[in-house]
Amino acid sequence: MGGTASKLPKELLSEYQELTFLTKQEILLAHKRFSELQGRENGPYSSRVSMEKILTLPELKSNPFRKRICHVFSTSDLRDGSLTFEDFLDLLSAFSDSATLEIKSHYAFRIFDFDDDGTLDGRDLEKLVNCLTGETDDTRLTAEEMRQLISNILEESDIDKDGTVNPSEFQHVISRSPDFVSSFKIVL
């Protein structure tokens, strides 16, 4: 790990440390992995890596939300899910151990919000459940079960009864699921 230290300028490194939840080691490792993806060693730090390349990372390859994660963290104007190194650090920072519950729930909400409209409605929830359940017949939920499940979810979390789950309601849900913080985690 020591050899990679020279590639990142020191000021940049301390700035990254200041603005993300990552430690020095984690940033250096992230830089190493990112430049491997870039395919060249000393490229400019702002150049983007396409979503296809990012998704070759073993940590993201099989994740059911991989495309959503890229889209949420991408700052690209083209909305193509490509990431700069800063975006990549943002991603790792939100999924790191020391990120706060608020950050984690904010990004979880945006990942689950498939149509990017700022609320989780029935269609988002259906997509979410489909993402997380198996494809075989005995594990796939029937239409009736899905309807029941979504109405249960809304009944459970939709405090203001507007038929959708908004960010603050979602945060309320998250604060009552203690497993969330430990499982919303990606480590390089």
Partner: protein, 685 residues
């Protein structure tokens, strides 16, 4: 703290409401500058944390940070600048400390691999193991440095009665009898050097310091874990659907494991749905009585089993004591017979939990969580009653009958630990490996065994309790525990990846982990501590061996010490503190009074917060109602506007304003009464 919304789509929503792009920009700018001024009021540490926690992209955060820094710079006067420098360097130092600690993390990659393949709940078992390993390494280091090294350097007190034969490794007697492994290998002389090293005090204070540090660290981790994982559950009863969805493990990277998790989650969701349906159909009274009586019978059976095995151990122990009284040190058979008791204890530990799970199968519980907790409670009752009986027997019968009884107890604990380790290895081989072979080759319906986290953690807790009990009687026992945990770590990992599948019901892993830490503290550590404390406070140490020979109780060494420091004036104050503070009832009375008052205050604060949560919830509900009401109104008004607009197209409207006064007045009135000015904007533009 004010948080900015970063939804680009919010902008479009506002646009629909009729705000111009300029106004939106203005609004955003206002928000940002408010945020910046909020941030610049914070202290440096809190500011960094707050900026880091802003849900924005990196460059936006950087911009905010730069603006805040600019404000700071313009405001700074010299002293604060100096303070900032100090705090900055302090922060840098702390960051480098954390990163240095991260380098030292053992098994980081291994743990990551386990987490990636089996998920967080299985990982928690390994983290627990690692945590115990740290305790034991620490204990080994301080015992070795402060007790063993001085003893070895001073007087290698080794008088071999017998040669090494191999069986000692299991029994701990014979060759090991007089070594520094056990209490008997130490003597309480004051080592003459400059300054003098008092072995009695060293022995006492090392063990005491370790116990106190262990206790503090346990309390600390327990409270941290409680704070993090036990959240207030208020409001409507959750059906658990969200909990299941939120427990999705992002750290799992293995393709097969993800598929497995997905299938599991699907099944669990289906189960939760059917449970909910069942809940709606109320259980009849006769069924409830039936369930209750079944539970009662099961508890009775479990307690009887625990009682029976305790009594069996007790009789076996007393029987052996009379037997080992007149044994020849060279007789291999009688030496091997001392292994009978530990083997029986380990067998009970192996078989009775299986019986418990059989008993558990005939009961019905409304939720699976209750079932898990009840099974944990029963197992811990069994293990602790076994250990309690053993302690009772060691402290009540052994001291009168055996000449160097502390070493005898140390050896008994050593044997229990070793045999427990062997059973654990056998358990891995037979319980997991063979079960896997049978499950995959012969009887397909059995399937691959599940990794039972609760059982495995309880085994670890049991072994750690033994190690704590034994620490006074055998100061180097932690070495055994360290080796054992090390080997178990690798074997379990191997067995897990070859033989087992991760558990199906993974929900609530975090809470169960808290329960385990609490269990390690309450019956386990507190029990071991009281056993050791009782020995030190009120039992007479053996006459012929050990550091405390000739004293009434080991604690008397403290009295001797304080007597010795009473004389010289430079240490008089230590004596004074001991005599007037530590030994006075008034001091403890005051302390407990203060603690009680603080507890009462904290309890009151908690009550207040609960009230607050309740009223905040009500506010949210009311806010939702208000929102719905206002939206309704807005839509109505918009519809009205549209109807009016369709009556009077644009050019006519303009001319109306000029010529036909009455109509125009009417029209103006409608705009005037329109409470929502936003509504009017899109039409006029």
């Amino acid at each position: 703290m004010r948080r900015m919304s970063v939804y680009p789509q919010h902008g479009t929503a506002l646009e629909n409401l009729g705000l111009t792009a300029h106004e939106i920009q203005q609004e955003v700018e206002n928000n940002t500058s408010e945020l910046v001024s909020d941030l610049s009021d914070l202290s440096a540490g809190a500011r960094f944390q707050a900026i880091r926690s802003l849900p924005m992209s990196y460059n936006e955060r950087k911009a905010i940070r730069n603006r805040v820094n600019n404000i700071k710079l313009s405001k700074t006067i010299l002293p604060t600048d100096c303070r900032q420098q100090v705090s900055l360097s302090f922060r840098r130092f702390r960051a480098s400390l954390t990163s240095a600690r991260q380098r030292l993390v053992v098994w980081q990659d291994t743990l990551k691999e386990i987490g990636g393949r089996f998920g967080t709940s299985v990982l928690s078992y390994f983290l627990f193991l690692k945590w115990l390993l740290k305790f034991n390494v620490f204990s080994f280091v301080i015992n070795f440095c402060f007790i063993t090294i001085p003893q070895i350097v001073h007087a290698p007190n080794i008088s071999h009665v017998t040669g090494f034969r191999g069986l000692e490794l299991l029994t701990g007697v014979g060759y090991f009898n007089q070594t520094v492994l056990f209490y008997g290998g130490y003597d309480g002389e004051v080592i003459v050097s400059k300054p003098a090293y008092n072995m009695q005090l060293a022995y006492f204070f090392t063990i005491a310091a370790y116990m106190v540090l262990c206790g503090l660290s346990l309390i600390y981790s327990m409270s941290r874990s409680f704070q993090k994982n036990f959240v207030l559950e208020t409001g409507p009863v959750s059906g658990g659907a969200w909990r299941l969805l939120c427990s999705w493990d992002f750290s799992v990277v293995n393709e097969k494991a993800i598929q497995y998790n997905k299938n599991n989650l699907g099944i669990q969701l289906k189960e939760s749905l059917s449970e909910r349906l069942q809940m709606k159909n109320k259980i009849s009274l006769s069924d409830r009585i039936k369930h209750l009586s079944l539970n009662l019978v099961a508890w009775l059976l479990c307690l009887l089993l625990a009682l029976g095995s305790g009594a069996g151990i007790y009789f076996l122990g007393t029987e052996q004591l009379t037997f080992s009284f007149n044994q020849d040190p060279n007789d291999l058979v009688s030496e091997a017979s001392t292994l009978l008791l530990p083997v029986v204890v380990s067998l009970i530990n192996l078989i009775v939990p299986l019986l418990y799970s059989l008993i558990g199968k005939m009961e019905t519980y409304s939720n699976p969580r209750a079932k898990i907790y009840i099974s944990i409670a029963r197992n811990i009752i069994l293990k602790m009653s076994l250990l309690g009986i053993l302690c009772f027997y060691w402290l009540n019968f052994v001291p009168d009958k055996i000449p160097c009884w502390e070493s005898f107890v140390g050896q008994s604990v050593y044997r229990l630990l070793i045999i427990d380790f062997i059973f654990c290895l056998l358990g891995i081989f037979f319980g997991e490996f063979l079960r896997n072979v049978i499950g995959t080759m012969c009887i397909q319906s059995l399937g691959v065994p599940e990794f039972d986290i609760a059982r495995n953690v309880l085994d670890l807790i049991y072994a750690q309790t033994l190690a704590w009990i034994g620490i006074y009687f055998s100061p180097l026992l932690p070495v055994m525990q360290v080796l054992k945990l090390f080997i178990i770590f690798y074997l379990k990992k191997l067995s897990l990846s070859m033989n087992c599948q991760p558990p199906k019901h993974t929900g609530r892993a975090a809470q169960i982990q808290t329960v385990f830490i609490a269990l390690l503290f309450f019956p386990s550590f507190v029990g071991a501590l009281s056993m050791v404390a009782f020995t030190v406070w009120s039992l007479q140490p053996s006459d012929q061996c050990g550091p405390f020979q000739g004293l009434k109780t080991p604690f008397h060494t403290i009295f001797n010490w304080t007597d010795s420091i009473q004389g010289p004036p430079e240490t008089h104050w230590v004596w004074w503190i001991f005599e007037n503070v530590l030994r006075s009832e008034l001091f403890y009375y005051l302390i407990s009074l203060i603690v009680l008052v603080i507890t009462f205050f904290l309890w009151q604060i908690t009550q207040g917060r609960k009230q607050l949560i309740k009223s905040l919830r009500e506010q949210i509900v009311n806010g939702g109602k208000d929102k719905a009401f206002l939206l309704n109104k807005l839509q109505n008004i918009q519809r009205q506007r549209r109807e009016i607009a369709s009556y009077s197209p644009q050019p006519i409207r303009r001319s109306m304003r000029g010529s036909v006064r009455t109509v125009a007045q009417e029209f103006d009135q409608t705009t005037y009464y329109n409470p929502n000015w936003i509504n009017t904007l899109p039409m006029d533009m």
